[in-house]
């Protein structure tokens, strides 16, 4: 499980909560810098900085389309670090919503005790 510490690898790249939010936003769709600025409500230098880090470790790729740069998630790069998606800051907020759905479900079909 040990890994060498390098300045920029995927693990470090996703250690920053803003970059995790960015990955979430990029899942399933491509975005330009301007679209990302609008979507996230961050300023352009901040968006560019975080996209730059994600690009450096290969988590996103960039291509030019006219005068725009379009960013796309390389989800395959996330495979080694995918635990992050269920840990940390949003774990309980999300799980409490699952509990609500589950309680509704078992009550609507009648609680059966064994």
């Amino acid at each position: 499980m040990a890994r060498a510490l390098t300045t920029f690898d995927s693990f470090n790249a996703i250690a920053e909560p803003k970059r995790r939010a960015l990955i979430e936003a990029l899942a399933g769709k491509e975005l330009t810098v301007n679209e990302t600025v609008e979507l996230m409500g961050w300023n352009q230098p901040m968006v560019s900085k975080h996209l730059g880090v994600l690009k450096q470790v290969g988590l996103v790729s960039e291509r030019k389309e006219g005068r725009c740069r379009v960013y796309k998630l390389n989800a395959a790069q996330l495979k080694p670090v995918q635990e992050w998606v269920v840990q940390f800051e949003k774990y309980w907020g999300s799980s409490l919503d699952q509990l609500g759905d589950y309680l509704n479900e078992i009550q609507s079909r009648g609680v059966k005790d064994e």
Binding site: A75, D101, L103
Partner: protein, 170 residues
């Protein structure tokens, strides 16, 4: 770095109202037959328990399985159980043997987090409070917890469900 015990972090308190009697909500937290059906952050996950001692001083070991087949093990140590009002536990990432693992993805995330569940019943509905607090955090851990506070009550967007679906096709 030092003086770890000096650092105080305000707990995060999440609240929910459930249209269910308190006893049922309490059982959902303390019976494996219920826990395995909901204690994960997305639909499509499954949950398997290999040890199940939900009692003061007891522990459970379970794995969450993502829709794309990735497994994560969690160790839960129970401190207090006060049916049907409250329970207190700590949960850790672990391996399948129940050995607690560090989080390489976020090295400064608090190693010890205590979770307290408090349930109140009003008019047939249950008010839940989840109190989440780092235990004896280092300065770095306290800062990491604080930095993400605004996200603690957010669910995942649809984006990550898509991501899981996509990871499953690779």
């Amino acid at each position: 770095m030092s003086d770890d015990n000096e650092i105080k972090v305000e707990p995060t308190i999440l609240t929910r109202e459930y249209d269910a009697p308190r006893l049922l909500v309490y059982e959902a937290w303390t019976q494996v037959e219920h826990l395995k059906n909901w204690q994960f952050p997305f639909k499509g996950f499954t949950c398997e328990f290999v040890t199940t001692d939900i009692s003061p001083g007891g522990s459970t070991l379970h794995k969450m399985i993502t829709p794309d087949g990735h497994e994560m093990w969690l160790l839960t140590k129970y401190e207090e159980l006060n049916p049907p009002e409250s329970l207190v536990f700590r949960q850790y990432m672990s391996n399948e043997a129940g050995d607690i693992l560090p989080n390489p993805q976020m090295p400064n995330w608090p190693k010890e987090l205590r979770t307290t569940i408090v349930l109140d019943e009003e008019d047939g509905k249950t008010q839940l409070q989840l109190i989440w607090q780092p235990v004896n955090p280092t300065k770095e851990e306290a800062e990491a917890f604080e930095a993400t506070r605004a996200d603690h009550d957010k669910g995942w967007g649809g984006g990550l469900e898509q991501l899981h679906g996509y990871l499953g096709t690779l």
